[in-house]
Amino acid sequence: MANAVHGITGKTYLPTFVEAQEEPVKRKLRGVRLDDVFDVLGSLASSWSLTYLLFGWLTGLQSMVGFVVVNFLLFLLSYAVITAIKNPRQEIKDRIITVLLFSAGVILISALLFVVVYTLTRGQIALGHLNFFTQSMEQAGPLDPLTVGGILHAVVGTLIQIGIALAITIPLGITTAVFLNEIGGKFAKFVRTIADAMTALPSIVAGLFVLSAFIRTGLVPRSGFAASLAITVMMLPIVIRASDVVLRLVANNLREASLALGATKWRTVWHIVLPTARSGLVTAVILGTARGIGETSPVLLTSGISAVMNLNPMQGPMISLPLQVFDFVKSPEPTMIARGFGTAATLLLLVLVLFVLARTFGGKAAGVMSKRGYRAANRQSLADEKRIENLIAARTAAKTRQKRNIKE
């Protein structure tokens, strides 16, 4: 063979047929080695025992927090030492950092979950009484048991306030976002900058603005409507910004195709841009709503606290759920605090429901349709086709009739 390669040129060697070998075993690229597991377990065991010794026998320290902190530090130390037996320095650093990253994630998520679970568990006491949702606090004094009084007035107040705020925010916010994207120009850029700036407005300053611009000047009394105005000032920039981002994601060739087919700008926006971005717009509005519902301080300034059901947004104080929480927990009475936690749990559940709604109805990228949406679009297309065919048939029929008439 070697001879042939060196000596004769210009000859082609065909490879000899070799029996197919067994597929080589694929190397494992992922997964955890047993070694690594033992490293972690060993460090855990040694650090825990060391801490236990330190705390229980040697010094007799008591604090739980101290135990956890010392345990964690010792774990890092012993993990580094154990890793160092077999691995280079780079690997030790990598592992320690990975542990730190995991602990940050675990601390954060458990702290946040703890806040939620703490509220829900302490709220359970009040939530167990049905009257909590069917009565207002009108008849209930601070010393009354939980079987009297409820937060119906706050629920209704929240719904009315957020309803009015949404009735202003949705049309105005989406129109503005459409303006920023579809019409554009220098003025639109300026509006976008100002709207972005307004997302920085602290909510209490929004409340202060409504208080001094509308209430102190006598334009609007302290009422649910005033609170909705403050919430609107808060929500509007958030909704505009989020919808702006969503509308920008609509592919330009969709717009161009529609315009090229002869649609007007208005038809393009109404039939192409908005439906394509619908999912994202829904998310924008719902997340804005969640922020608006949770606002306490603007309502405190502009509407105020009341224990009575008030259905008229134009007159009299109208309390909302977060403000009711704030008011309940100011009291030293345990029943009032239990009510406060019940109200907080209700508010939290409301926000949770809104969040789940946002995830179910929205959250899809621009132009991505659900199966049902796809079927609906198909049906619409078929109906359009039929309509056009009918139109053509009718026109041809009319033409032949005309011709016949002329002949006759």
């Binding site: 950092i97 954060l108 105005l172 503005t176 003025f187 100002i194 102190r216 926006v269 405190l300």
Partner: protein, 342 residues
Amino acid sequence: MAKESFKTYLRDPNTPAVEFSERRPLVALGSLADKVFTWVARSGGIITLGIMVAVGLFLGLRAQYAFGSQGWKFLTETAWTPENGKFGIAAVLFGTVTIAIIALCVSVPLALGTSLLIAEVLPERIRSLAISLVDLMAAVPSVIFGIWGVFFLQANIIPISYWVSSTFSWIPFLAVTDKSGNPLTDPSAFTSSAVIAGVVVGLMVVPTQTSVMREAFSQTPLGEKEGALALGSTRWGMIRAVVLPFGRGGIIGGTMLGLGRALGETIAVYMIISPIFEINPQILKSGTNSVSALIALRYGEASDTGLSALMAAGLVLFLITLVINFSASSIVSRSRSGAESN
């Protein structure tokens, strides 16, 4: 016919060249519907702009009286007694900034770690769950963090505060002493400190920061990450050499967005702190204040001076958060990771 179609026709040199007509204008005249649409959309923009500008202008105009009466002393005076014509935001601003800095000390390590964990370490399935959880937490109302702070954290943090203050009393801002410098041991000296408010506000802003940072990290070009790994770096080496420099804009921008929210937070701070109108540099000691808590405390004041003073305080707060937000968004959009996102 078929033959002819292959023939090339040259222009007869004797016929004069056709004058090209001028370029057709491509401006659409627009139908009535379009005109109405443009007009409606534009007026939507104008109304929005009007509302926003009205808020700014109104705050500025109403605050002017307070600024005018106090001058620069408004920024250096600690007392808040508009009825005596003597007020300033030095104390409340100091408290606001202290609380915000403590909040950042809590939130930034957590947010940075969690966002790196989500973007680089977690497997795909758990990742989307973690993202949803963090996003959900961003929607939890601040009053809920507030009651958690009041009913859980205040009671449980006292031993830790006490231990830190007695062990590290040689660090001036960690000591808890009375006026003459004797250490305080009474639990009530620790219950409503800037640290507790800062921790609560910190937890509140972590989700915002995490999602901004994660967004930036997740846009790191795969090729560069694979390059680092192929050259033999460990995961941390890859993160340090590729992901962190790429996402630097996101880290700074996210931190500052969180700072903006922390400065403006009202109700949780108001529930936790016990308001005082002097500068208290001992962060573990009860008694601090913030601009927004001041507004929530004093909004009921009837006098025009009082309201104008509050407006001025609110305006200063707004201007600070505005500067922070704008610099945050310009940092994000100038960085590599932010160039393609909004």
